[in-house]
């Protein structure tokens, strides 16, 4: 990783007007003018600026083979990726996470690693991340609600991180947990789900080259509403599998319980691989709306990552193991 030496005379990054704000100044003026008229006051707080000033560039990022070119699609713009989120810990509305995660301070952060593993313990964020080189990975992201994005994540291959923990042969699954802290996570004051949020993968899924531990997006640290400071990304599964703000990683012998499966076992299975053939009681999964587009497009088996992942599910009845 590059170490950047700073001189006292250097412009601090916090002093530089973020590009988005600069580009957005016209809209800001428009918004401000309307606010001045008292038009729909309150509802037009310019949400797009909530992030500004906190955005931190990550340095020393290496490219990976998962580039925008390899996906072959336009990136979903930063605004949409960071203002349209399902993160029920901060409220159930799509814009709630942006609003209510604003003051969430993810640092210092630590992650407990336990279970069937050679090197258990409490790892600080720095312990987890610093030994690795950060990678850029552009992945499709498909929500179970039939919308999707293309996101340039920054992070670490999950297998690389796990190799340092040394999972034992008995470790057949891995369980993840999100922070449970209603004082800091407003949405947890209501029992929409049984907190803490839990997710899990089969060991071979976790070690698949696609599985990714993200610490950033668009070359910057993860915004709070996207699961700061560290989250999972499994692009061939529905978005809810990509658990956010992880505080615990447990290696287990048996299949761990997962939040949405506990809440609605008929609707959400343990695997939750993107599967347009398997219709969901609430949403047909045959199509999806890419954020920013008008017409829906057909959804792809394994969200288009069949080449990398299909072999893990050979011989499994996907109607039963959904």
């Amino acid at each position: 990783m590059l170490i950047k030496m700073t001189k006292a005379s250097d412009i601090k990054s916090s002093e530089i007007t973020p590009k988005a704000v600069f580009d957005d100044r016209r809209r800001f003026l428009k918004t401000a003018a309307l606010a001045g008229l008292g038009f729909a006051a309150g509802s037009i707080a310019p949400s797009s600026f909530a992030n500004e000033g906190r955005r931190k560039k990550l340095i020393g990022i290496e490219p990976s083979k998962w580039t925008q070119k390899s996906v072959g699609e336009k990136l979903t713009d930063y605004e949409s990726v960071t203002s349209y989120n399902n993160f029920y810990e901060f409220g159930t509305g799509k814009q709630d996470p942006l609003t209510y995660a604003k003051d969430f301070n993810p640092k210092p952060w630590s992650v407990v690693v336990d279970g069937e593993v050679e090197n258990p313990g409490t790892y600080s964020y720095e312990d987890l991340v610093n030994p690795h080189t950060l990678e850029d990975r552009v992945y499709r992201f498909r929500c179970v609600e039939a919308w999707s994005m293309v996101v340039p994540w920054v992070g670490i291959g999950l297998a690389d991180m796990f190799k340092r923990f040394g999972p034992k042969n008995d470790a057949k699954y891995v369980a993840f947990e999100t922070l449970n802290d209603p004082d800091r996570m407003y949405g947890q004051r209501r029992r929409v789900l049984e907190w803490p949020y839990r997710e899990g993968l089969r060991m071979d899924e976790a070690m698949n080259p696609l599985s990714f531990m993200a610490v950033g997006l668009y070359g910057e640290e993860l915004p709070n509403q996207n699961g700061a400071p560290i989250r999972l990304v499994t692009p061939w599964k529905y978005g809810f599998k990509s658990i956010k703000s992880i505080v615990r990683i447990s290696f287990t012998k048996t299949q761990p319980p997962t939040s949405w499966n506990m809440s609605g076992p008929r609707e959400y299975g343990f695997y939750s691989n993107v599967n347009p053939e398997k219709s969901h009681p609430r949403w047909s999964q045959a199509k999806e709306r890419r954020i920013g587009e008008f017409l829906k497009r057909p959804s792809l088996m394994y969200n288009g990552y069949g080449e990398e992942v299909a072999s893990m599910y050979v011989g499994m009845d996907l109607n039963k193991f959904y």
Binding site: A40, T76, T92, S279, R282
Partner: protein, 210 residues
């Protein structure tokens, strides 16, 4: 100004404007990019929620009349009910025309496979029938008693609307429960009032039986 004129010339136009305010609000949100990154979904949910709000407001009229003793409230019931139907029409149109883009095959699959959509359409059909029979002429044609009986279906529509909303959301979310709780409160109030009336009637007839 007489009460009738006050209602006709001041209150009715005022309520009309209030009923159209959500559309103005929508225009404001559209102008300020306030419709989220998924405006089609946002529009659909926004219109649906307003349909439900107006439906519950129409159901609030009788309790309000009883509590305040002002009979003038009933003059606004049809207006609110028709606005509930108006927003329900827009809500449905946004689903058919924007979300599904007139893909009738997919719409049909949704209708038979996704229970919350079946329930929603049921509530919509009830509202359509009630809206179609809301004129003074139909009241005359059907007779007050029959018309009243038909329009009791509004409770079923209210229940259907709340259920539709609850089933659409993932997990146990607060907003749909709030709407359902409000509907329950209105119904409990009416029921208690009905019991009280019954007791009063029984009290009056009891001495005669002696």
């Amino acid at each position: 100004m007489t009460q009738d004129k006050l209602i006709q010339r001041v209150l009715k136009p005022l309520v009309w404007m209030l009923c159209l305010a959500p559309l103005l609000g929508l225009a404001g949100l559209a102008y300020t990019d306030g419709m989220t990154a998924n405006p089609i979904e946002f529009l659909n949910r926004y219109l649906g929620e307003w349909a439900l709000k107006f439906l519950l407001s129409a159901l609030m009229i009788t309790p309000l009349k009883i509590v305040t003793g002002w009979a003038g409230f009933t003059r606004f019931r049809r207006l609110l009910g028709l606005f509930a139907f108006f927003y329900a029409v827009l809500h449905l149109l946004s689903y058919v025309g924007l979300d599904q883009f007139f893909n009738w095959k997919d719409i049909w699959t949704d209708l038979i496979k996704r229970t919350y959509i079946t329930v929603g359409l049921g509530a919509f059909i009830i509202l359509a029938v009630l809206a179609a029979t809301s004129t003074k002429n139909t009241i005359k044609k059907l007779g007050g008693k029959n018309w009243n009986r038909l329009h009791k279906w509004v409770y079923v529509a209210g229940f259907g609307g709340c259920l539709h909303f609850f089933m659409m959301r993932k997990g146990v979310q607060a907003e749909p429960l709030f709407y359902a709780g409000f509907l329950a409160l209105l119904l409990i109030y009416r029921w208690l009032y009905y019991l009280k009336k019954q007791r009063q009637r029984a009290g009056k007839t009891a001495p005669a039986a002696l």
